[in-house]
Symmetry: C2
Subunit: 422 residues, 2 copies
């Protein structure tokens, strides 16, 4: 059967969904649309064969859906961060190719054959594992989000960055495959040293920064994974190939990449990355430390400054992401008037523990200004706070752990900008 268009269809068919056309005035009759009435070149010849893409990349038309850094944020891109293009993604899985990176001394190249993981300290049987050894232990698969503690950090002082990618893009969500840290600690004879209460593990990477962090034993045994695959395939170089630590729900800095050593200790190290960095300075100059968990948070990804509305009104899908380091998202509310009134959004799937949840509000836009906000609620009953509520408790000196409600001003022309409402 060759391609044919029904005359009846052409005569009766306008643009999709007459309801939109009435509002927007963009209706075009199918019979005057050359993309319908004329044969197109792509239907008249061959496309690419299967040898063209042994490993594929996005089509050239999507070349703007990439990680981006902010040049003024750090002194050098080697010690910098780039951002997931969350404004252009949907669903929940983040492809590794556009999942944000953060390095402290750059992304190193480490072969599987050169990989070693040592477990030492207060264990009965200190061990060194090769990569092949790790593959011989029982594995688990889990989807988890990884969020940098500094995600939205620039927003403490007010609306700064014009795009969800930059305000909230230090996050990704992948299906990890790895061995429970508990399994490896047990293999090394954990517990032989006595009571585990008050014990810690100190974890460090093979890069020059080492990025050492102390993790309380309770968390180490609960759900940490020594992971070697993400979204089915090997970790990317920039995500710690061949092995990184996964610390579900806790700040991304603890997810040590190129993981090379785990020491069981009876006290935390209080290393650089948990004292001068990754602590939260309060109004009185003292600092909160051990603020590991990423509290419930959400953001509207579309419409947003990088994803404007492209029609004049009518049906509109408002979409975004919600997550909680404490558990599963149970509800997300959306406001169009800066928090005065709220509607409950639709969750695409039931929230999963410590993983991103996609939400949608299927609505009609009247073409007028909106002050869009989203508010996440998790299964502990915690409700995402406003930025002002956070500032009341934490002052203005913080960088990390800003989970305040984000506001986008959507103008009648469909363009959106980052604003704050009080």
């Amino acid at each position: 059967m060759s391609y044919r268009t029904s005359r009846r269809a052409l005569l009766k068919g306008g643009m999709a969904a007459g309801a939109f056309a009435a509002t927007t005035g963009t209706a075009r009759a199918a019979e005057s649309d050359p993309l319908i009435t004329e044969p197109q070149f792509w239907a008249q010849g061959f496309g690419d064969g299967v040898d063209a893409t042994p490993y594929g990349l996005p089509i050239e038309f999507e070349s703007d859906v990439i990680r981006r850094n902010v040049e003024w944020l750090t002194a050098d891109t080697i010690s910098s961060i780039n951002f997931t293009p969350i404004h252009a993604l949907d669903g929940t899985i983040t492809p590794q190719g556009c999942a944000f990176e953060r390095h402290h001394s750059g992304a190193i190249e480490l072969r599987k054959d050169d990989y070693r993981l040592m477990i030492n300290g207060l264990v009965d049987k200190p061990l060194v594992f090769t990569y092949d050894d790790l593959e011989r232990f029982p594995r688990e698969n889990h989807v988890y989000f990884c969020e940098c503690a500094a995600n939205s950090g620039m927003e403490w002082a007010g609306a700064q960055l014009n795009g969800a990618q930059f305000t909230h893009g230090m996050i990704h969500n992948m299906e990890y495959t790895g061995v429970p840290l508990k399994t490896l600690l047990t293999e090394a004879g954990l517990g032989a040293a006595g009571d585990l209460a008050g014990k810690w593990v100190y974890v460090e990477g093979a890069d020059a920064s080492s990025n050492g962090r102390s993790i309380p034993m309770e968390k180490a045994l609960e759900d940490c994974l020594v992971a070697f695959k993400a979204n089915g395939e090997a970790l990317r170089k920039e995500h710690g190939y061949p092995v990184r630590l996964v610390v579900p729900g806790w700040e991304g800095n603890m997810w040590v990449k190129w993981l090379r050593r785990i020491e069981v200790m009876d006290a935390p190290v209080e290393a650089r990355e948990e004292t001068s960095k990754y602590t939260d300075t309060l109004a009185d100059g003292t600092s909160r430390k051990w603020t590991w968990v990423m509290d419930a948070k959400s953001v509207i990804t579309s419409p947003s400054p990088q994803s404007p509305i492209t029609h004049g009104g009518g049906p509109l899908v408002i979409s975004g992401l919600a997550w909680s380091g404490h558990g599963a998202i149970t509800r997300v509310d959306v406001s169009k008037d800066g928090g005065k009134t709220w509607q409950t959004a639709r969750l695409a799937r039931p929230g999963e523990k410590r993983a991103l949840t996609r939400f949608y509000l299927d609505t009609d836009w009247d073409g007028q200004e909106m002050l869009l906000q989203s508010r996440a609620i998790d299964d502990t009953g915690y409700v995402q706070p406003t930025k002002d509520q956070l500032r009341e408790v934490r002052g203005l000196n913080s960088i990390y752990h800003n989970n305040g409600i984000q506001t986008w001003l959507v103008n009648p022309d469909g363009k959106a900008e980052n604003v704050e409402v009080s």
Copy 2:
């Protein structure tokens, strides 16, 4: 805190998991391993900054984890297929970059702005949708497998291809975002023409092949998606950018790429792709048609011919994938002796409807020959058959819908090969 190794650890630590070492004789003392005792170059300088990978690719060391074709399978790669490297993947998500392709006239390039989708035929209001129009309808997210009807087709005549990638790699599993086909059909006034019983939709793509297929209305309304994202990002060119049809659990040929037209009809078209192709010729020369559903199936991905065992014995993870077009996988059994005895494998997560399920058997290998098999069971109670059971019913003329149990012979040297047992 700088990197330091504990002298005690070095003295006490052998290779990982002494239990393995005892069997394999590969133990190396940490103190004689320069990767432990010497500072390594990757810890002494900077790695790459975050500008290096605006959109990332796998690290060079994973360059063999790619789609591969089989040159003799079709006349030209434009009308050919390549295979997902399932032997090297874990978890369940297939990255788009290595998800198999099948084209009938090559992969075309179609811009979003040039995209049109027509719904015509027995509808009250024939419509043409632009890409932007589609984004205004309520969306859903679902993880589904897509399997070519010809997956494992070469194996009807006996063990042919030496690798899970080639015997079972015409499959991928992604999180799709799209609009239910039911929503768009309803928008076009489906039902105004009367009773839907016995009605069909005919779907075709914008490529030269058009690849038209007839789908019964019941399935069209059940769970088909008009999808524009996979694993969060835009579909890749080779997967139908910007829009493909998702027909959960049904053969991949029906998942029309570059979807351009959906006609509601009162009978199937009996087009080329559902008569001379994608039918199953039986022993008596007659053909089964409308064999849409992909029955329950499984395969062990490791160990397998492309993923040999690299140690001499002891702890071994046997891993694989299972799926069913009818529903969710509820159980997978693994045999080491060619089907004489079976052990129930561990499912990494509860089976999800029409999606891949990862299974593991954590076992000890005695270093002797194994005849590895896996057997999937779905929530309808269906048990994956042997190849001989299939041949008894279907003869030897078939290409499509071979869901028989696969056997890998694992030799004492750890290498595996494709064999058949009767």
